[in-house]
Structures are given as C-alpha cells and as structure tokens.
Amino acid sequence: MTCDSRHIDLVENHDQQSGSSWVGTDAPRSDYRGLYIHIPFCSRRCIYCDFTTRAIASDSPELDEYRDHLIREIRKATREGLLGSIETIYIGGGTPSYFGHGRLVDLVYTLSLSINLNDNSEFTLEANPESLTSAMMRDLYSLGVNRFSLGVQSFVDSELRWLGRGHDSRQARDAITMIRERCDNVAIDLICGIPKQTIRSWQQSIESAVETGVTHISVYPLTVEEDTPLSAMIASGEARPPDNDLQAEMMQIAAEILPSKGFARYEVASYAQPGYQCRHNISYWSGIPYLGLGKGAAGMRNLGDNRERLLAGQVVERLAPAQSRAEDLMLGMRMSRGVSIEDVRSAQSLIPSIESVFAELVTLGLTKVLDGRYQPTARGWLLGNELYGRIWASVDSDGIQV
C-alpha cells in the first residue's frame, strides 16, 4: 500500500497509535487518513474571498437541508468503509461557526459515531470570532473537536474594516481567550500586504498574535483573485494592487519575529509551537489520501501509483505515476523539512530530469541541502512559484485527464 510509509510521516508524534484507531474490528479498511467537510456559508463575503461560499441568512432553511445532506454523506461514507482509518478531520468553509451551534453539534455527533475521536485524533473547526459562542465551543470540544482555527487576519481594526471582516480586534482576543479556557490548540490566520497596512502595523499584528497565546499562526500575502470585489476595486483604481516588494518584506518580518517567539516555520505559510503543527494540512502536502464531503469539498486518493483528485465526490483529475510523484515533491518542498535526497533519486526512473532540476534549484539559491534533504532557502520561500514551478515543469502536464 503506497501510503503506509507516508503514514509514519504524518503521525511521527505518536507512532504507537498507527493503524489502530478504529470502530469495530470488522469495519473495512480504507486509504483515507484525512476527512475534510465543507460548510459553504458565511454571514457576508469578504472583499478578497473567492472560496466556495456565499452569504446566507442565519435562519435560512437551506442550512438545515445542508446539515441533513452532510449527515447522509457521512453515513454513506461510513457504510462504504471510507472512514475507518481517518486520523484528522477538518471542518472548513465558508464559516463553519456561522453554520450554527445545533447543526454543528449534530454533525460532530454523527462523526463521533463513525470515527473513534480520541486524544490522538486531530479535529479542527474553522471559526470566526463573531460567530463562535462559548456554548458552541464547549459542546463541540466535549464531542471531540480539539483544534480551533480562527480567522483573525489582523489585529488592526482599520485593516479589518477594509477587508470587510465582521469582527474587530477585541472580539478576536476575546474569542481566543474563551477557547483557551478549555483548549490550548488555537490557530489563527494573518494577512500581509493589506492596502494601508504598514510595516509597523504588521509587526503589531504579529506581536499581538503571539501575546494571545495561540499555538499556530498562518501568514498569507493578500492575493487578488479574479471576480472578487477586490479585483474590481483595483481595476477601477479604487484600491491599489498589493505591492509585491512590501509583501516580501512583511513575510520576511514574520519569518524573523515568529521563530524568536517559539513558533517554528514548518511550511511556507505556517508557523507552530512545538507539537502543534497541523497534521491535517501536512497530509495535503505529503500525498496522503483524504476524503472530501460537502459542496465544493476536494478529495484525493491514490490508486496504485496513479492519483485521482475529486471534487464533491466526482473525479476531476487523474494523475499518472510521474505526475503524482512530481506533485509530491513539489508539495513536499512547501515544507521546511523538504524532501529527502533519496526520494528525489528514486523518482528518477519516473522523471528522468528530476535530479538535475533539484541541482538547478540549489544553484539558483532556491533550495539547500541539509541532513540528507533538499529544503527551501529563505529565497525559496519567497520565490515559491519559481521553485514549485520548476519541479512541476519536469513532467508533462498535458496528460492529466479530467
């Protein structure tokens, strides 16, 4: 089975648990180690957002319908034996906390019937400060949710208003404090390169984040996606496009401050205190199969050396062995641990140019060799597209079937 070796990577913090988390001994086995559930609803849309979500009234009957639909999907997946090896669960959105206390409880309770949620499981819920209530947090935590990812984005109120967020910095701090009363595993997102953001205000956001006691911080540059209000504002001249050089400087500042406060960078955008890396996200970058449930949810499975990517249960892509291997190497290089020289060497039979591509990456200063592994350099972090693009270009991407 292709993913057994990868499994070890994923659960390096708790080896003894491997393969034993399981409901009933005769349940069929599956390759899926991760489960993603998508909640495509928000109270409002932020100006930069292009995710699969939409603004909806909190009393809309559609929310109940969607809950029922998800519960049917979970039961079906259970019957098909797809949930037997799940180790990480991630409820993302949209804004899952906006889905509502009762519906979330229904959902997590249903999951807890099919998946053995224990201390070794990682179960993340995405939430926004304004819609995560204390009661909701308490009940979900009791049912097994043990990681909360809060969409904070900034600790500067004027920046939050500009982004169209529904909370201010005080609400963000209060939400973090409230979660930390029960659960210490709190992750937040920060965005750099917001118009009018300054180096100083960015430093403030990072320092505020550290002070709140969160264990995981993601740092993103503001990206202008097509067909968003932001792209229209830029097209009309109402907003200035983000300055790449400034964003680079801000990402560099985060890369300097956060490690000094105990947050190690383990992926291009992810910083965590020891033991608090997001195992679910790491599985995305490690070729580990995951199941996606719900509207717009993506999934991935390996069939021998081939790979399939799914969207809402439909196969949308088939990757040949070389392509799937190149994807693993490319995604592996998003992480600070990188990929081993041995992995690259063994890919040579599928991708003849791969060793010379990595040699070139080293020459270009995008990659270094450390402890028998290729790892991104500071330059490689900032010029990620150059790095990933060169790896991906080593295989012919025309052959991907849809």
């Binding site: 991760g34 993603y36 699969t52 993302g92 740092v219 993103y220 540059p221 990206t223 790449n244 050089d245 964003q247 680079a248 400087e249 990402m251 291009v268 955008a269 996200n281 995305y284 970058w285 995951y290 996606g292 717009g296 949810a297 993506a298 999934g299 991935m300 990517r309 969207l311 949308v316 892509e317 994807e327 490319m330 995604l331 998003r334 270009l364 972090w381 900032l382 010029l383 990620g384 597209n385 150059e386 990933y388 693009g389 991906w392 270009a393 991407s397």
Partner: protein
Amino acid sequence: MNTTTHIRNFSIIAHIDHGKSTLADRILELTHTVAERDMVEQVLDSMDIERERGITIKSQAVRVMYDASDGQTYQFNLIDTPGHVDFTYEVSRSLAACEGAILVVDSTQGVEAQTVANALMAMNANLEIIPLINKIDLPAADVDRVRHEIEEGLALPADDAILASGKTGEGIVDLLEAIVKRIPAPKGDTAAPLRALIFDSYFDAYRGVVALVRVVDGHIDKHMKVRLMATGINIEVEEVGVRRPANLPVNSLNTGEVGYLITGLKDPADVKVGDTITLEKGGVHEPLPGYREVKPMVFTGLFPLDGDQYSDLRDALDKMRLNDPALIYEPETSHALGFGFRVGFLGLLHMEVVKERLEREFDLDLLATAPSVEYHVYLTNNEMLAIHSPQDMPDASTIEKIEEPFLTATILIPPDYVGAVMDLSVSRRGTFVTMQYLSTTTVEMKWQIPLSELIMDYFDQLKSRTKGYASLDYEFCGHQPSQLVKLDILLSGKPVDALSFIVHKDKAFDRGRILTEKLKEIIPRQMFEVPIQAAIGGRILSRTNVKALRKDVLAKCYGGDITRKRKLLEKQKAGKKRMKNIGNVEVPQEAFMAILKVDE
C-alpha cells in the same frame, strides 16, 4: 475571333478600402461569371488574409463576357492588382497588360495618396482612365467635392465620372458600357511572332508554376515551344487557358487576350513577373519594356520560438516562396535566438502578411526581430558589402563609409497638418523636396526620407499626428551616405545580437536611452536583477535596471487549492514558453520589436 476589336483589358485601381473588391464582385455578378450560389465577398481575393484585411496581395485575371447595348458580345479581361505600395512593381506589370483602368474614388473619402500614386502609374502606362465615384449610397457622399478633387488633383476630366455603388449595384451597367465605349481595343500584330507579358504567377501543387499572361503580338498555343527571355529558358507549353475565374483550358490565346499558361516549370524563380515570352524558334529579340528584378527592401530575422521548428520553418518558407517569388531568405544564426532565417520583403506589409501566413498556415510560432534595410558598407580596402542585418556590420575601424536606402515619400494631407508632417519628417531625418496644393483641401508634400526611418513607426505617427487624414506613398530613390553606427543592447552585461540596430549617430544617444527604458517595461522581473545597457562599441550610452523579483508565491495551498495552484504554475510556464531565454533572462517577444515603437 482573330481580331482584337471585341477585347477590353482593364484594371481597377483604388486607395485601400475605397471599394475595389466589392465593385469587382458586382461586375462578376452582372455578367453571370460567377453563379449566385458560388458568390462570396471579395471573389478575387482568395486568401483568408486578403479577405480579413481587405487587401489584395496577388494579382488576378478573370475573363467575363458582356452583352453590350450595341448588341455585340465583348470579352472583358479584368485584372485585379495589389493595392499596396509594397507591390508597386507588380502593379506596374499588371497595368502594362491593360489598355484601361477604372479609378475608384470613395465619395466620402475623396482622393488619397494611393489614388494619386495609382492614377499616375496608370497614366504612365498610357491607360485610358475611367474615374468612378463609389459608395454614392452613403449619406456622407460628396460627389461634387470628389469630382473637383479628381479634376484638380489628378488633372483628369471628371464630368463623365461614373457614379456607382458597389454595395447596391447602382451605376455598374453604366460602367460596363463605358468600358466598351471608352477603353480602346488592344493594338497588336496578330501576324507577328509571339510576344506575351508575364504579369503574375502562382504555384499549383499539381501543375507547377502557373503564369498569368497577356499576349501582345501573335498567339500562344498548346504544345508550342516558347522561350522565357529574362531567364533564357526554352520550354513547351503544356496548357493555356482563361480564368473564369476557375481555369478553363483553351487551344490558343490570341493577340490582345489575357489568360494563363502552364509549362511544367516548378521553380517560381524561373517564371519572373515582367518577363517576355516569345517563340523558341523565330522569336523576337527585343523583350517588352519594363522588366526588372524585384529587390526586397526590408529584412528581418525570423526565428522559431521552439528551436525544434527550424526545419519546419525552412520548409514553410520554401513552400511560401512558390507563390511569392519576391520572398528571399538565407539562414541566420543568432547567439540569442538560435537558428533562423534572415528574410527579405518588399515592404512592411509584405513582411507582416508573410509572418502571419507562416504562423497560421504552417502552425509555427515565430519571433521576428526588428526590420532592417540594405546598407552598403564601403570598407577601407574599397570593398563594398551589402548588409541586411546589424549582426553583419563589420568593425567600425574597417569602414570607410556607409550608405543607406532613401525613399521619396509622397504625403497627402489637409493643409492644417503641414506643420505636423514637417515636425515628424524632420525628426526622422527627412529632407523636404516639394509641396503643392492639389486643391484647397489637399496638400501634397514630398520628402526624401531614409527607409530605415520610415519602417520605424513613421506611418503610425503620421496617421496619429494628422488624426488619420494623411495618406502616404513612396518610391525608392537610391542609396546615399549617412553617419551610421551600430548600437548594441546588453542584458546582464552581455550583448544580445538580436537587439542590436543601426542608427544615425546623432540619434544614437536618444534612441538608446528610450529603448532601454522601453525594455525595462517589457522585460518582467526575474529572480536576479537585470541591468539593461545601450552601447556603441565598448562605450555605454545609457543604463537601467529591471529589479529582482522578491516575492512570487502562492502562499495558501490546502486540499482544494492544489489543482488550482498547479494550473496557475502551468499557466506561468506557458507564459515563459512564449518568451526567449537569453542567458538567464526571459525576454518577451515584443522586446525585439520595441525599437519600432520608440516614440520620441
């Protein structure tokens, strides 16, 4: 019919867009030459590119039979000519095959530069000219003004100009009757030995070169043994025929008639436009006047973006030349661009058309370098080199003098724009020749301008500075000495041969500075800083930098993002593929043409 009394050979001449092809369509319709169901727009323009651009590149000859009001049937040979100044020689040969010309003038636009140029050519060819004022159905038609312009500007009587609309068909019968009455029948000696003029040729994959001919004296028959006088080739006629417009073989073409001729010759270079055909035995010794070798004026490097397409490009050029003997090319090697060809063209339009056809019809991705002209470089050892590419320029210390081709440009403008044309032409090293009022609304200016300046954006500038009113025509007037230097462009300290150009020494500093600034905008930021320098010899004239790219990262990449982000990388890769990698620098194609867009 062995006399010429019922033959009328004529051409339709016009400025671009004045409705020549539509008018030809109406004539074919009215004489039932083309069945209605086969009627397409611009029947005589068979290439896609001709139809799309509304231009005629190849000559055409079509025979129509017209039952005139006098009860007789006449044989009309309509010879459609290229309208653009690039093809002046071809036009002159086509006109030499005619006795008359219909001069089409748009009733809303009036007389324009090519109207004048074409009318003058027709007069020089001693043709009977029938002015036709077209598009009279348009509300903006101003027949009186146009009549006045024709009389004033062209010194042609316009009282009996035909008033017509190619669109509605109005006036077409008047035109056909005028052709019968006003254009003379061909003169020629039916009993004399054969003399026939080749006025164009095209290539047929099965039959070889097909020549379009006009019999001047005698007759030309199937199986006759003939001689092509300029190339000295003796050959047997395989087939003669007329075009209606499809080829229709006949036994013989007689004095005054127009048709086609197939000999089985495969190389278009053997069948030259303007050559005279006579009998192999007992033929004439004097060819028809007017023949000359066609010489390309503008040269550019064509390089396949994908080096593997080099041999495809060679094959494509070989095929293209079959229908376009004016096209010449030789291999060229560039450090920056690899293997390609230096290709000579009659002019800029010819160049654009050929490049577009190569890409479209042969599925090639081509990079064109900035066009150059033919420089005559006299060395200190008295040798003369004809240089078509800046790369071939010898070391400055060995050069005695350099000559460059000059043109006489004829520009027609409303009087308000005289100053604008002055400014532009002087800035492009033009020398004023003459100025004359053709009418109260039209001034004709003549300038002597180096061809190298004209192929910069002169025409675009002329149009924009005169709000589109100016029209331009030009003719070659010989090589003259100029103070020229070769300007090199260096990227990251290394000269890029494909970006070098030859420039007047007084202009070198400005052009160098503007071009480096332009390149800075065009060349995207790379992983390293890219210095851009302009230099003459070892002397740096100007310098600028493309700053290094600091950040290029798609930071968020979770489950659902992976496919999307990978596609973005692929898009990025495809974008890079359209660029040329020079040293470590990715250079977009437009960089090589940037010199043409130097707006001073």
